[in-house]
């Protein structure tokens, strides 16, 4: 009978409540790449362990690494309380600006640089004490108190009462001991400030549709323009404003000219709900592709594609890709469609992680219909190694990217992929 009761109690403890899922973890840095005022930066928000408490914000510069001052404003969406400060971008170990937040929950960080403004939504979360700790310490406290009471009562010869108190003490010790054993299985309480979570996770949100436009409509060669992406939920028609940070950005936009001689991998600013914008300058007239990777919260990633045209202009070319001559080593030498191929490049010493990875490889089919984004997986030595299965035969345009101490290097090359069976 006792064994049966023990088994029931164990099962109840293990299955008492469903596990909750969170997109943000208290205490973990939030890192968001932003292309702002002509610079490629990563904004780092360090969480706080209490409220009121310090929220520390730093900005890491990747290109250019010259000093750039940014205006910061943190606003609680719940009560509207706003604090402001400034941050200076630095290539490494930025000086963190400390702003005080007075409550948990949804907030907005407004970044200002030049005449550009980005608004980044985020949640301030603070961990709570766990139910397990409460049970362990509560159970032991109860046991200790009752044992003392039992001994005293026994001493004055009230046997029944003493047994009752001893029984209570045994219950307290049992609770504490069982929780020590099963604490790992107990659900952690949601942090203070976390959004509501459904008891039954659905898993996957509807698709986002993206509309790509330029402002002005047909920018001239060498002229600065804004590439705008409006995201709309395919099921509700509402703006998509729930993008998750993936690979340290809410969106990765790759802009390439049709001929592949222009390449930019940028991280647009959220300027309004569902609206992302980035300023660019294209150095040659013609047709351009914009491939955008986004990931909605609790969902998988998706690729949105768009195209625009740059007309000939009087202005000279405004910028060019920081291209490095490169001779990648392919394995097999003639990659075959549908089979893994490995691309290896030499890299200088001192490559630093960018967007959470040592290296990135962007691969585009010649017609722009396909875009792949491959990550370097931690190859030892001064090498970058990527493995990718090219989906179809044909010529692919490829750009490998990595960050050094003073810039982001882009190494362009092409890969010719043979059809399966053609090599036999």
């Amino acid at each position: 009978m006792i064994r049966l009761l023990c088994l029931v109690a164990v099962l109840l403890l293990v299955t008492a409540a469903p596990a909750a899922a969170h997109n943000v973890t208290a205490g973990a840095d939030l890192r968001i790449a932003q292309t702002i005022d002509g610079a490629e930066l990563t904004v780092v928000i360090k969480g706080t362990s209490r409220v009121p408490g310090p929220l520390r914000i730093g900005v890491v510069a990747y290109e250019p690494v010259t000093t750039l001052r940014l205006g910061l404003q943190v606003r609680s969406v719940e009560d509207g309380r706003t604090v402001t400060g400034t941050a200076e971008a630095a290539p490494r170990d930025p000086r963190y600006t400390e702003l005080t937040v007075t409550r948990t929950g949804p907030h907005e960080l407004t970044l200002r640089a030049g005449d550009e403004v980005a608004v980044i939504p985020f949640r301030v979360l603070v961990e709570r004490g766990s139910a397990g700790d409460f049970l362990i310490y509560g159970g032991l406290f109860l046991a200790g108190t009752l044992l003392v009471g039992g001994v005293l009562t026994g001493a004055i010869a009230r046997r029944g009462t003493a047994m009752l108190l001893a029984g209570g003490a045994a219950a307290g010790v049992t609770v504490a001991a069982m929780v020590v054993v099963f604490e790992q299985s107990l659900p952690a309480p949601p942090p203070d400030g976390a959004g509501p979570v459904a008891a039954t996770p659905v898993g996957g949100r509807p698709f986002a549709q993206g509309k790509v436009v330029t402002v002005p409509d047909r920018p001239a060669q060498g002229e600065e323009f804004t590439l705008r992406l409006d995201l709309v939920d395919g099921s509700t028609g509402r703006p998509v404003d729930d993008l998750a940070v993936h690979h340290e950005a809410i969106a990765h936009v790759v802009v390439t000219s049709e001929d592949g001689r222009y390449f930019r991998h940028v991280h647009p600013l959220r300027t309004a709900p569902g609206r992302l914008e980035v300023r660019l300058r294209a150095d040659r007239p013609g047709r351009y592709f914009a491939h955008t990777e986004v990931e909605r919260q609790d969902s998988g990633g998706q690729l949105l594609t768009g195209a625009f045209t740059v007309r000939p202009g009087d202005a000279p070319a405004g910028e060019s890709v920081q291209a490095a001559a490169v001779a990648p080593r392919l394995q097999p030498v003639a990659p075959v469609a549908g089979r893994p191929a490995t691309i290896e490049l030499d890299a200088p010493a001192g490559v630093r992680p960018w967007l959470g990875m040592t290296g990135h490889l962007l691969v585009r089919s010649q017609d722009g219909a396909f875009m792949g984004h491959v990550h370097e997986m931690g190859t030892p030595g001064s090498r970058l190694r990527f493995t990718f299965s090219f989906p179809e035969p044909g010529r692919y345009l490829a750009w490998a990217q990595y960050a050094t101490a003073d810039r982001i290097v882009t190494a362009p090359f092409t890969v010719d992929v043979a059809a399966a069976g053609s090599a036999r």
């Binding site: 008492a16 969406v77 139910a131 107990l186 659900p187 459904a198 509402r238």
Partner: protein
């Protein structure tokens, strides 16, 4: 002694259930949000599927009208706007069907007034009605 041990185990199970399962019931919703023109607090005594009453207290801003609608991001559900009645200045009440299933919903408040239109959103955990 056996009885005593059995009682101890039962007490342990009851305490664990109380702590771990204490948040299972749908609790009244109270959420505040601020925009650039308006700030408001939303109160739903019984946030469940079916007919609900949504009370909105305008904490700042001069709102003439308020329309309430809802979206369930996980499922892509969307419900039509309910026009809220202004019971007295700064206090609105919207009644009707907003949430077609239990889960997490985004409740949108579309204010209009001399300062212009603004839409604010709060998250709402909806239980079964």
């Amino acid at each position: 002694m056996k009885r005593l041990a059995a009682v101890a185990v039962l007490v342990a199970a009851a305490v664990a259930l109380f702590v771990a399962g204490g948040n299972a019931a749908a609790e009244p919703l109270r959420a505040s949000t601020t925009g650039t023109r308006y700030a408001a607090t939303v109160l739903i005594e019984e946030p469940v599927t079916g007919r609900v009453s949504v009370k909105v207290v305008v904490d700042s801003g001069d709102a003439d009208t308020l329309a309430v609608s809802a979206v369930m991001p996980d499922m892509g559900h969307s419900t039509p706007e309910l026009t809220a009645r202004e019971q007295r200045p700064g206090r609105f009440l919207a009644e009707g069907e907003l949430f077609s299933m239990s889960g997490v919903w985004d409740l949108s408040l579309r204010f209009d007034g001399p300062a212009g239109e603004e839409q604010l959103t709060v998250k709402a955990l909806i239980g079964d009605g």
